[in-house]
């Protein structure tokens, strides 16, 4: 039964991928390329490319893509449900416990230590994104080979967000459009 196999396969991906995003990639590859052969290796690479260009978590993107390929829209729904099912169970239990017991002293102590760490982890994810934005595929990261237009866009975006309090999504879209305009004009002038 193909629906059951899709569900179980993506259930495992949802259950065992910790840390989100690219941490799930090896697991997805193992399940859909090696174990079940639902996609070839090159189709899998295409899937990653699509995931980078579209909104949404990579595991959900993979579930939809593979599900459609293997069993049409019902397959996509089944795979996606399998992928989020473990999250629903585990996270709602944790959220319930947190909201019920958050005034306990020991939990307070744990949370006081966790909060600054969470800020740091988000900062670290930001650094990864900025390195990829400023240096792209460059081998060495030096001040000399930074992509200037990206650095300028970054500074302008910081100014609009902090100085002008603009909507973040608007700022992001504006950066994208400006980059396309700048790159195309520069290419045109050469």
């Amino acid at each position: 039964m193909i629906y059951l196999r899709l569900f179980m396969s993506f259930l495992q991906i949802g259950l065992f991928s910790f840390g989100g995003g690219y941490a799930a990639l090896p697991l997805i590859q193992e399940q859909i390329v090696e174990l079940h052969g639902w996609l070839s290796q090159s189709e899998f690479t295409d899937l990653i490319t699509i995931s980078q260009m579209t909104p949404g978590p990579i595991a959900v993107n993979a579930a939809t893509f593979v599900g459609i390929r293997v069993a049409g829209i019902p397959g996509a729904v089944t795979a996606t449900l399998g992928c989020i099912f473990p999250s629903c169970v585990i996270v709602s239990i944790l959220a319930f416990l947190y909201l019920k017991y958050k005034n306990l002293r020991i939990l307070q102590g744990v949370l006081n230590t966790l909060r600054p760490a969470v800020v740091a982890i988000i900062a670290s994810a930001g650094v990864t994104i900025l390195i990829s934005a400023f240096w792209g595929e460059a081998k060495a990261i030096t001040p000399g080979n930074i992509k200037l237009n990206m650095a300028v866009l970054f500074l302008a975006a910081i100014y609009l967000l902090k100085g002008k309090n603009w909507n973040p999504i608007l700022v992001m879209v504006l950066c994208g459009i400006l980059n396309a305009v700048i790159s195309l004009t520069a290419g045109f002038c050469q």
Partner: protein, 187 residues
């Protein structure tokens, strides 16, 4: 009753909008959710949001989905959870369904590629702004332990590439020890 369905609708629209326009992984959508539900709508306070983010991060699965679950659950129980999950999943589900039929055309389009590249700079700026807002209190209050934890967690994640789960587990252990030590000293 009317109040509740109004709130659910607002939750659905806000989450759907964030999910549809967020490229670049779970941390980005979490920072945008913070801006929406904490700063703008004031439905959740800032400290509680950090705790909910910690739950979302230390659980298995996609961070965006986990974030939607904790926020939906906190705001409106089981109904809120289902609403937030649906709103998070629908945009990528619809996009991928359509794209899976003609992805090669999309992939090789120069304009699309340049726009996506530029958006990375914007995403980085959004994250930097949010980190500044969340972290500045620790420095203003000169909270040395928290600053130390922050520095250590940043180093572990950014330079040593230690998995987020282990950092969170480590902080839980340190938190338990700290509280236990305090309680013992008071006796």
């Amino acid at each position: 009753m009317k109040e509740k369905s109004k709130r659910l609708w607002k939750l659905f629209i806000s989450t759907f909008y964030l999910s549809a326009f967020t490229f670049g992984g779970g941390y980005v959508i979490i920072t945008l959710m913070k801006k929406k539900f904490v700063d703008e709508l004031k439905w959740i306070d800032s400290k509680e949001m950090l705790d909910l983010v910690a739950i979302a991060q230390s659980s298995p699965g996609a961070i965006a989905v986990n974030g939607a679950i904790v926020i939906g659950y906190k705001l409106a129980g089981a109904a809120g959870m289902v609403t937030a999950i649906a709103a998070t999943i629908l945009p990528p589900f619809l996009t991928i369904s359509v794209l899976s039929f003609f992805y090669t055309v999309f992939q090789s389009n120069l304009y699309v590629r340049l726009i996506l590249e530029g958006m990375q700079a914007g995403v980085g700026a959004v994250i930097a702004a949010v980190v500044f807002d969340m972290g500045k209190d620790y420095f203003l209050l000169k909270d040395k332990t928290s600053i130390l934890v922050m520095a250590a967690a940043f180093g572990a994640s950014c330079f040593l590439n230690i998995k987020v789960v282990y950092i969170i587990l480590g902080c839980i252990a340190i938190g338990v020890l700290r509280t236990w030590y305090k309680i013992r000293r008071e006796k």
